[in-house]
């Protein structure tokens, strides 16, 4: 499948591009940087500027059939990037009639009652931005969304095993998150689902099949 990764040079995005190619997909790797080239025939860098208009963003989506949104400002520009940037990409996707939209969000972003927990306490602004982006995707678009909400990300090898629909916070290896994103694309059971996750005990494909 041809897929667009928005935030392709990020902490998650760079691994996601590689894993998608390993799984046989062709990747439009969207970043705000220009003139990047890939050594892989299955990756084409495209210019996606989240400060541009939805129309300008749509132009560089080409013939992508699905979109991953894994961009983030690391707290530096939450309103323009994490919130409005995400919504612009949704609008562009609708304009291009690209239905499948897989969003990397954050654990409990839709559950404000949990934001007082110690591990989230310094992240309220981030959570608000993700909250309104997730909410828009669910309620203000007709996209076939999957929203993946892991907790803290760690630069560690993946176990291939996760827990889903968690109600306690826990760590996530980036590889597990990336594998879950890729397998979400391949499993229609993830459509219209919001999935909290952490490293855990169930093989990813089983966890998604039994959502």
């Amino acid at each position: 499948m041809k897929v667009l990764v928005v935030g392709a040079n990020g902490r998650v995005g760079s691994h996601l591009v590689d894993k998608l190619v390993e799984n046989g997909h062709f990747v439009y790797a969207g970043t705000r940087r220009d003139n990047l080239t890939s050594s892989s025939n299955n990756v084409r860098y495209v210019h996606i500027d989240l400060l541009a208009s939805p129309e300008a963003i749509a132009e560089n989506m080409y013939d992508a059939e699905a979109i991953f949104f894994v961009a983030g400002s690391k707290g530096k520009d939450l309103l323009k990037i994490d919130l409005n940037g995400a919504v612009k990409v949704m609008r562009a996707a609708e304009h291009k009639k690209i239905k499948r939209f897989i969003m990397l969000s954050s654990v409990f972003a839709l559950n404000q009652d949990k934001w007082n927990q110690s591990f989230l306490k310094d992240l309220t602004n981030y959570n608000i931005a993700k909250h309104f982006a997730d909410h828009w995707l669910i309620n203000n678009t007709k996209l076939d969304y999957t929203i993946l909400q892991p907790g803290v990300l760690k630069e560690e090898p993946g176990s291939g095993k996760i827990d889903v629909n968690i109600d306690y916070p826990s760590e996530n290896s980036i590889e597990n998150v990336v594998d879950t994103l890729v397998q979400s694309l391949q499993d229609p059971n993830t459509i219209e689902k919001v999935i909290t996750m952490s490293d855990g005990k169930t093989p990813i494909s089983d966890a998604l099949r039994n959502l």
Copy 2:
């Protein structure tokens, strides 16, 4: 009527409280400060903390029959106050079944195409916060809203005359904005309307009646 003003000590709110009393209303004056008292029998200060939960906010709405949201962080806490604080008040209003909700927004907050105009260029983060708050009120609540969107506010006496549904920016005396808010409460024709405005040529009541 008994009305709640959220942001009652602000630049607009303080004038709004006075004008509402002049027009025969009883005002719950909502601020985050505690233990304030008014010299007027028709004003009661209530503690409204926009960082608290919607349930806690609802508790201090008492028997208000309509709500004005005129709070703002002046750019200092846009995600928590101008966006999520506003939405919490909407949720609290729905919880309390207070249907009438009058929002002070900002010119073109729902029209991103205009945010590149010079007078708005430094206000993108503010516009994003107001955009998502306005959008929530329209699309994610069943409240009887009026959204008033003036441009730049000036500390000047009002002329009592405005232009509405403007497509160019212009100045607004705070008194004109306050008078328009009060008259919106009294004119059901303003329900489910988004009203851009500036100081202008038409008496306020006529402008609202002919929306």
